[in-house]
Symmetry: C2
Subunit: 244 residues, 2 copies
């Protein structure tokens, strides 16, 4: 209560983006190589400082999204993940970062598998498992982002954001299987998604080189899923879990 003369400390505010997509049925995250110290040369999430004192945090996130990812920014949903502001996470000083989660649609696969814009997409599994050096606390942020995406698939229509404007039910199932990391029964999956009113709506028919053509769908008006898509194999063992 003796704060008459006291002045609060100031911090630098940054945004970081966890942009997830699906490639070859694997979950990938967009990473960039840092050009400046600290962590020069290491992989990092796209992001940066607030540009000026009046910039909205969400606006900064959208700006970074447009700058760093050459994607149709309009179609991307952006969701706040949380704040990461431990002192010492950035050697330059007290930097507090607001992390956002974005989902990018499935990109048309380049034939060879490697072009310029391609370099940034890294498989999540490898990024999290390897002793690969990531800048700052970005490994944890990615981990939190993936977990958030997993949870959101259950209760929201987020999965459709992984797909393009139209998609088949098999495409959608691919998303769930990739993000959750488990196989699903196609027959039960068909039943489930079709019964969930407003989740997906028909949008013509797809043609493929082989096999029976699949029906195409678009994302429906419903964004909150009820009943939810339940993720199986939740561990039945009473386990401890702390929240912060």
């Amino acid at each position: 209560m003796t704060e008459d003369q006291w002045v609060p400390p100031v911090v630098l505010l940054a945004v970081d983006l966890v942009i997830l997509t699906l490639r070859r049925s694997r979950l990938h995250v967009l990473l960039v190589e840092r050009g400046i110290e600290p962590y020069k040369g290491a992989l990092a999430l796209p992001g940066g400082f607030l540009q000026h004192a009046e910039e909205e945090i969400t606006a900064a996130a959208h700006r970074e999204l447009a700058e760093e990812a050459d994607l149709d920014v309009e179609t991307l949903r952006l969701e706040q993940l949380g704040v990461y502001g431990d002192p010492g996470r950035d050697p330059r000083g007290r930097v507090v970062s607001v992390a956002y989660l974005a989902i990018a649609p499935r990109l048309p696969e380049p034939t060879a598998g490697t072009d310029a814009a391609d370099a940034g997409w890294q498989p999540v599994e490898g990024v999290l498992a390897d002793d690969l050096t990531l800048a700052f606390d970005h490994r944890r942020i990615i981990s939190d982002g993936v977990e958030r995406a997993r949870a959101k698939l259950e209760h929201s229509s987020l999965a459709t954001a992984f797909c393009g404007p139209t998609f088949t039910i098999t495409d959608l199932q691919d998303v769930y299987e990739a993000v959750w990391g488990i196989p699903l029964d196609p027959r039960n999956f068909y039943r489930k998604v079709q019964k969930t009113e407003g989740f997906i709506v028909p949008a013509g028919t797809a043609r493929k080189a082989t096999g029976r053509p699949a029906r195409l769908f678009r994302a429906g008006p419903r964004t909150v899923l009820y009943p939810p898509m339940v993720r199986p194999t939740e561990p039945p063992s009473p386990k401890e879990q702390e929240s912060e």
Copy 2:
């Protein structure tokens, strides 16, 4: 990319606490009256600026919790709600606030209903509905906090945090009914919570002035609930909902 000479702007970092509890089967939030400008005299969430440049954000939240609420801080869980940093939310300058959610156990009801420490507990329903002046964007923060609590009741054992160290099943049902704002069937509720392994464990028997004594329980080791406590009456109408 021309950021060689450029320096990023700085912001003031604050924490705000949404502390919820149950009083007379109603959800209440802890509010304080602001003693200084801006919004002097208005109700506001407890909170304040980071104390020094090295203080962890979580530590600041815990510190404010201990300062503003005379509760057993050890037993309270704290969870990050999100960041609120719109320019203009604080006339003093660019203030970015990290909001936390805490759940306080049911307090022993003072006989008269009004004592000194009592002044801060305000019924959530009234706070959100009335044209009562709240400082800053705190109405939205409270709203987000309540919604988070509602959601967490389904998948976590958060409800036990509203109760004391021991509680009856009816007590627990009271929590769900108050937070969700809907009545639940006692028989189905009994079945459900007892079947969820590790949610609650027996802890003796309660004595009351009247009626059959109830069995007492403590919170079990399980913090993530599977299967979840499903909240009924989810609107079956395909409604639009935007996430940010």
